[in-house]
Point group: C2
Chain length 293, copies 2
DNA sequence: ACCAGCTATAGAAGGTGTCTATATGATCAA
DNA sequence: TTGATCATATAGACACCTTCTATAGCTGGT
């Protein structure tokens, strides 16, 4: 197979109709171009150019070759443009999986900043449980996942993100509980609102109660953090939410935290990727912007 | 612009999913392939392959690049096939211009042989006067022309072909002239049939008469050699034709030559091409088969 | 734990692309 | 014609870069 590099010289020579001009365009000397063309011609056993005193003209065979090489050249040029686009985040896509509530409350601000800086990178955000996110990763459907630690999977590369703290919050209806320190047992006298099953936080808090010989049976089971907050505000019960996600409500005192006499374990956000699988330019740039451990 | 040769390595590596296999396919060593891929990756600033213990897998960016390079590779492969086709006369075309009667009576046998040997070369035969043929050549509409010498044009490359001899022939009606040697003057007593104006042979013979102070005014002016022969056979007059083209008729004695007391100048077939313009593979092969000087 | 198979790395050597210098040819103007 | 200009071709030298050998490192399977 002929040295592809020769086609580059051939193409430019044909386009410019001159060995010397092609040489300038390629930042090499005219004898080099002459040599390259000769190699092509000898390789095919055909003359490709007719040499005149004003430059060169494609022969019939040269025209045929040119029509093919032109296509190839176009594709390779496009390829280089596209690559630079991907490299400079002027294209491509960022596919992220977020588990539970992390999607909206944790990820969203970073995504907004990223999108503002790289508006041409398409962002795909998929939502799912931690195991689903892991599966998506392994199937190559997403570039990275944002889940709660711990995640134990030998195939995954885990970057530790910030710590988050879950807590119970209530609205004004239960104002009398503000300032008090409740026991787990006492808390059960109130209607409890939890995130739906299969969520990491749900497992964690249920486990805490079980460790104390108690059963945490929620009055409501909701599918979104927004609803948890809303229900608590309107006094339908006491919601178990991530403290960092209700900062605003705590500040404006539409919600207040209910202190317990046992500590609720913190959990950590983890950014997971496939081990040994190179990240896309977009993904690695995005990860750099997320505050880690 | 990136060295096109690297794309060849990239493409094969992607296709085979392995640096080592690509190395074998390219008859180089694995480290060379590794090096080439690294050059590409550094050139783009992007990782193109994910390395595993079983080989390599395209990254997202690699997939994008591959989709472009695949197209380019296809075109370049096609180009090489096509070139070999042209080189081996399994394709392409042969465009010939023949003046006057030379087309049918001189060229045809060679064209038949050529076509039998290279059935995939398309043959275009155009007919015209010598100046027209020359014009076609200069316009690039034909690859070579077959005309009567002399042709004087600085831009033309002329190969001298066989000598041909024109003569006057008649059919049985003028049988009494057989064996006689006529003067030009005496010949004018008979009805003369000539090829149409603007033909080389017409100029030649009219000139000969003029040199002897005579005017050659034909009874008939015909546009084809076949008609000249036919008219002579049926006794409508004495035709001026190329001796070589009536060999059959002379042999079977349906025509006989009329000898003159002055020699009619011979003329030579010339194969003309554009000077400095490389011939197509088909054209140069064809010319080799024509008997020259 | 070891072997097989893959890729990465380092350093050396050879080949090839590129250079400079010059030749050759065509065109054009005087 | 002659000389000037501009094009490509050729020759030979050099330097870079591709490719090589040798080896290390890693992974997965036996």
């Amino acid at each position: 197979m002929i040295n592809f590099e020769l086609y580059k010289v051939f193409y430019l020579t044909a386009q410019l109709g001159s060995l010397s001009k092609a040489a300038k365009a390629l930042y090499i000397t005219q004898p080099s171009v002459s040599h390259a063309i000769k190699q092509l011609e000898e390789g095919f056993g055909l003359e490709l150019f007719s040499r005149t005193s004003k430059g060169v003209v494609l022969t019939k065979e040269g025209q045929v070759l040119h029509s093919y090489v032109e296509q190839a050249f176009t594709f390779l040029s496009l390829a280089e443009d596209k690559m630079s686009e991907l490299k400079n985040l002027e294209g491509g896509e960022l596919r992220i999986g977020g588990s539970d509530s992390l999607c909206k409350h944790y990820l969203l601000p970073y995504l907004e900043v990223f999108h503002a800086q790289h508006p041409n990178v398409k962002i795909h955000l998929v939502h799912g449980t931690t195991p689903e996110i892991v599966t998506y990763l392994k199937e190559g459907k997403i570039d990275l996942g944002v889940v709660r630690m711990p995640v134990n999977d030998i195939q995954l590369e885990v970057r530790e993100g910030i710590l988050i703290q879950d807590c119970f919050v209530a609205g004004s209806k239960y104002r009398e509980l503000a300032g008090q320190i409740l026991s787990l047992e006492k808390l059960l006298d109130y209607p409890i609102i939890l995130f739906s099953r299969n969520s990491h936080s749900r497992y964690a808090i249920t486990g805490l109660f079980r460790d104390h010989g108690l059963v945490l049976a929620p009055e409501f089971e909701l599918g979104s953090v927004d609803l948890l907050i809303e229900f608590a505000k309107t006094g339908l019960g006491i919601s178990y939410v991530t403290k960092q996600f209700v900062t605003k409500e705590l500040e404006e005192e539409s919600l207040f935290e209910i202190k317990l006499d046992v500590p609720i374990p913190q959990s950590r956000v983890g950014i997971i990727t496939l081990k040994n699988m190179p990240l896309t330019s977009a993904a690695s740039t995005f990860i750099e912007r997320i505050p880690l451990n």
